[in-house]
């Protein structure tokens, strides 16, 4: 083993005094063993650097902020609300009622044979006709409300603390999204 080998790393790091560095360089040029050692040290130094970079990259990998994820969700909901009605859909219409009203609806409280002028006590409210009921049923809609904290959608400091938004999705009787409203 050469005496110079104890100085090889310092020489590679340019830490040796000028004269000493020149001596080591001269020796390494003519010594196969030192040349091989030098290559090995250079290689391991390079691998160590690359490993440090990889560790740093793995540990500092950026995560998607929560507000970006929440905003993406809202964007998807808006996109669905806009696109959904344009899809060709088979609407399910309520079947028309042809049968006489009297046959389908139970009549309560009013006797058909009541004498004119005689006050009839109505126990219940008047029963709507079948068409009316169908219309009322169609108007009925269900709404889903999703509370989204403001800090989940906007960068910190952009909105007052504690503020949140309600995303209200109205779903029509045929299952389509009829309305999407975002309110504070």
């Amino acid at each position: 083993m050469c005496d110079v080998q104890g100085k090889l790393v310092a020489w590679l790091d340019q830490e040796l005094p000028e004269q000493e560095a020149a001596e080591v360089e001269r020796h390494v040029r003519g010594c196969a063993e030192c040349l091989s050692e030098r290559e090995a040290y250079e290689q391991v130094s390079g691998t160590f650097d690359a490993y440090c970079d990889a560790v740093t990259a793995a540990k500092t990998r950026r995560r998607v902020p929560r507000w970006v994820a929440a905003l993406s969700g809202v964007a998807v909901a808006v996109a669905v609300a806009v696109l959904f009605p344009s899809f060709p859909r088979t609407r399910v219409e309520p079947r028309p009622v042809h049968a006489p009203v009297a046959a389908t609806l139970p009549v309560t409280g009013v006797a058909p044979t009541a004498a004119p002028g005689k006050k009839v006590h109505r126990a219940h409210a008047p029963v709507p006709r079948a068409e009316e009921r169908a219309t009322r049923w169609r108007r009925a809609e269900s709404a889903v409300q999703i509370a989204i904290p403001a800090e989940a959608m906007f960068p910190p400091g952009a909105m007052p603390e504690g503020m949140s938004f309600i995303a209200e999705v109205s779903i029509g009787p045929d299952g389509s999204v009829e309305r999407l409203r975002l309110r504070p």
Partner: protein, 179 residues
């Protein structure tokens, strides 16, 4: 490193207000400092805090008329002490299994090359686990571009001891990694 777009932390915004030496130093040394701390085993968030604190301390140091000699070594020393104060058992984490190999071999490496690189990393990780604390710290500071004298200042060691420690550490790694 993939954190180019990280915004300046609030206390450092004043540094960015105009061109100054501290701003230039921040741009130059932020990444090496982060890398050093993260490789020591400090979490990414804590490393950011430590670096930020180091630059705030530097501003105070300069404002108080402190010496401007070897600011780089000074910053590394402050960051090193900050890391030590925050975590006492950081040193073991560097040798722990991370998904670092995946990053290293990512890109357009062929499967064979990727496998070889992965194996090389695995061996290096095992070898790093065998180093002493001071050997590991010396190598990390050396990888951060510090001279032996600066490393000695950061770690409180004589320059000649730093040289010996680095030499020993590199030889250990080369031997264990079979390069």
């Amino acid at each position: 490193m993939s954190d180019d777009s990280l915004p300046l932390a609030l206390p450092l915004l004043r540094f960015a207000a105009g061109p100054s030496e501290v701003t230039a130093l921040y741009r130059e040394l932020r990444k090496p400092l982060l890398r050093y701390l993260v490789c020591l085993g400090v979490s990414s968030d804590e490393a950011q805090d430590v670096v930020q604190d180091a630059f705030v301390s530097l501003e105070r140091h300069l404002a108080a008329g402190g010496t401007q000699e070897n600011i780089r070594g000074w910053l590394f020393r402050v960051a090193h002490n900050g890391a030590r104060n925050r975590q006492t058992s950081y040193h073991r984490r560097f040798g722990e299994a991370l998904d670092a190999e995946m990053h290293f071999v990512a890109g357009d490496a062929t499967p064979e090359k990727a496998l070889l690189e992965k194996e090389k990393f695995r061996r290096l990780r095992r070898a790093i686990g065998l180093l002493t604390d001071s050997e590991r710290e010396c190598l990390l500071l050396r990888a951060g571009g510090l001279r032996y004298r600066e490393i000695g200042e950061v770690l409180g060691m004589a320059t000649s001891t730093v040289g010996d420690t680095i030499e020993r550490a590199i030889k250990k790694l080369a031997e264990k990694c079979n390069v």
